[in-house]
């Protein structure tokens, strides 16, 4: 549980989020609003709940579906309060910049989208360049946006060589030493990370947030 002492209504909201029940979350947000609670304080509780969701996920107390639900509930809370959902997704502020895409030959986007949502929920600025992204396009987007981190996703084994080719493309373009590269997806592990020449990999979407927090100060 978060260390901060919460008021009873805040605790009730936090419990509803950690119970992953949107009906209960929205009812509690409504109750807090009609009781005159500052919307920013409500958002703060939702962010505290997200931190707790992240910790529980890392400790394997909850699983992927609940992790996604946590992000969705943060969005619903923000929306119910009249804020735009989450931090800017494509380009404006945020703590740092991440170019994210699924590599050539692979059109899977679920993992990429989960990583995108989690990074945005953690106030990072994500430039999502889509799926089946050829090497040249990755290089072009990196040159254009000058990100801190490049995230490459892929579920299929065909993605291993595409990731490797993309990193080589960044090297040839003289951009590799200007960015950190992270890889992830179904069959990615340390062996793939080494093969590809990435700086990090993670078995879960939450690892992308951990790396970005570490690398972007």
């Amino acid at each position: 549980m978060p260390a901060k002492t919460l008021a009873a209504d805040e605790q009730a909201l936090l419990d509803a989020i950690l119970d992953f029940d949107e009906d209960a979350v929205l009812a509690q947000v409504g109750k807090m609003r009609s009781g005159g609670k500052d919307p920013l304080q409500i958002v703060e509780v939702a962010r505290l709940a997200m931190d707790e969701v992240g910790k529980r996920f890392q400790n394997k107390q909850i699983f992927l579906t609940e992790l996604i639900m946590g992000g969705e509930l943060l969005k619903s809370t923000m929306k119910a309060l009249g804020f735009s959902a989450g931090a800017p997704a494509q380009g404006k502020s945020g703590k740092g910049r991440i170019v994210l895409g699924t590599v050539a030959g692979d059109v899977h986007d679920i993992g990429k989208n989960i990583v995108q949502s989690l990074l945005v929920a953690n106030d990072f600025n994500v430039i999502d360049i889509g799926v089946d992204v050829p090497v040249a396009r990755f290089v072009e987007e990196v040159r254009k946006h000058q990100p801190d981190v490049v995230g490459m996703c892929g579920l299929l084994t065909v993605a291993f060589d595409s990731m490797k080719a993309t990193v080589e493309g960044l090297v040839k373009a003289g951009l590799r030493d200007k960015v950190k590269v992270i890889v992830g997806g179904g069959a990615v592990d340390q062996e793939v990370c080494d093969y590809v020449g990435a700086d990090g990999w993670g078995p879960t979407a939450a690892d992308a947030v951990t790396f970005c927090r570490k690398w972007i100060k």
């Binding site: 579906t65 609940e66 969705e72 030959g105 692979d106 059109v107 679920i110 299929l156 291993f160 093969y195």
Partner: protein, 432 residues
């Protein structure tokens, strides 16, 4: 017309005589002429030895003569190995057949998924199947087919599907998967004729290959396939993010549970029909979404219908090959709920779960296979493969009930020398 024919095919009074007729015509046409490569007696012995070895491991009735080494859910490794594109494998029966047999001969596995059944490019294209992205048609010719995940059941259609049931699925959802069904008149009729012709060609090719396999000593027990209702929900009706949102809301949560329950008997009938058509006992049975659920969610949404499905398939004489993708260690204890008469007719294919923990939990309840990382098969060395096999053998070989196999079958990009290393390891160290 297709909507009328498909339900008829599920009736034993129709499908049984029809299959008999097709098999008899096939035999007369000599499409499956058996050519015994190394002499009939030798090939028959090889086939029998492989079958006994695999079945001894699956049923845990005794230790096999050695650990079976299997390909598991092989997809397009034969195409890559033979140097043809995945699109060629899916669309060109002659190239596919050569690639399939070359791979079977070069890699003498005890069994593997008969990947020639994936050569559905022409049928899928004639039917305008949009549930899959097909290599050469929708995506790169050398990529594997991939699911086209969209919300075919829209946010505002939950009530309609709850009220409409199967007719709503057939009338509204199916045309969003098989676009030919959305057409009318002459275009529809012409399309259905093309589907029928391509299907006949696919069946003739498949049956021909199945007949030839015997002569080459190739043993396949896997033919049919099945998906748990929750996966059908997620792969066909709702994308994973949408389904996740559905589970956060009371009303849609109840709809998900009800729909899984209502679909289950219908899906079971379809899977039994497919298995019957192949004439093979093994049912390739992936679970692609289970890993994402907590035990509480799994118990609520996934397990009740999956358990019913497993029992129904085994009761019909089939062998479910349960390929649970990603890390599902936290869900494996549920398998202990299945009675042993059922569990010992199943295989647990372990992807990225902690296989040592899985072995401890299952404790002889069910045969285990899988777990050599796909990365090791694709970019590791033969020495890496051997090292991993040694780790698996030390824990899993004693007592039987174990088959050596990569995590999710031989990956498309596996290095041939790594597949050889896996087979060699079983031959050299697998004897009991």
């Amino acid at each position: 017309m297709l909507e009328k024919i498909v339900p008829l095919l599920q009736k034993p009074g129709i499908i049984d005589p029809l299959l008999k007729l097709v098999r008899s015509a096939n035999a007369r046409l000599d499409l499956n002429k058996v050519r015994y490569r190394g002499g009939k007696a030798r090939m028959s012995q090889l086939l029998a030895a492989r079958e006994r070895r695999v079945m001894d491991a699956i049923t845990l009735r005794r230790e096999p003569d050695r650990v079976p080494v299997i390909g598991g859910g092989v997809n397009f490794f034969p195409a890559k190995h033979a140097g043809i594109s995945v699109a060629d494998f899916m669309f060109d029966p002659a190239k596919m057949r050569r690639a399939y047999f070359k791979t079977c001969m070069d890699f003498p596995l005890d069994t593997s998924f008969p990947s020639f059944l994936l050569a559905i490019g022409r049928v899928a294209t004639a039917a305008k199947l949009s549930v899959l992205k097909i290599p050469g048609r929708d995506i790169d010719a050398n990529s594997s087919y991939q699911y086209n995940e969209v919300d075919r059941l829209r946010d505002d259609e939950w009530e309609s599907i709850a009220r409409g049931g199967v007719p709503f699925v057939v009338g509204t959802i199916l045309p969003r998967m098989v676009e030919l069904l959305a057409e009318h008149g002459a275009a529809r009729l012409a399309g259905e004729t093309r589907v029928a012709l391509e299907l006949a060609r696919f069946l003739a090719t498949s049956m021909g290959i199945m007949g030839e396999m015997e002569g080459q000593g190739i043993y396949n027990f896997l033919g049919g396939f099945a998906f748990p209702p929750f996966d059908v929900m997620s792969l066909v009706f709702r994308t994973l993010p949408s389904l996740t949102r559905d589970l956060m809301r009371k009303q849609t949560r109840e709809h998900v549970v009800q729909l899984c329950e209502r679909m289950n008997p219908w899906l079971i009938r379809i899977y039994l029909t497919i298995a019957k058509a192949t004439g093979l006992p093994g049912v390739f049975f992936p679970s692609e979404r289970a890993f994402s659920l907590s035990p509480r969610q799994f118990e609520q949404y996934y397990w009740p219908t999956l358990k019913q499905m497993i029992v129904a398939l085994v009761d019909a004489g089939l062998i479910p090959f349960l390929e649970w993708e990603a890390d599902t260690t936290h869900l494996v204890p549920f398998l202990k709920e299945i009675p042993r008469r059922i569990s010992r007719r199943c295989v647990f294919n372990c992807d990225a779960s902690d296989i040592l923990e899985v072995h401890k939990i299952l404790d002889g309840h069910m045969a285990i296979t899988g777990n050599i990382p796909l990365s090791t098969m694709c970019i590791g060395t033969p020495h890496d493969v051997e090292k991993y096999c040694a780790k698996l053998f030390e824990a899993l070989k004693p007592g039987g009930g174990y088959m050596l196999c990569p995590a999710l079958g031989i990956p498309d990009e596996a290095r041939p020398e790594n597949v050889h290393a896996m087979i060699r390891y079983a031959w050299e160290h697998g004897r009991y």
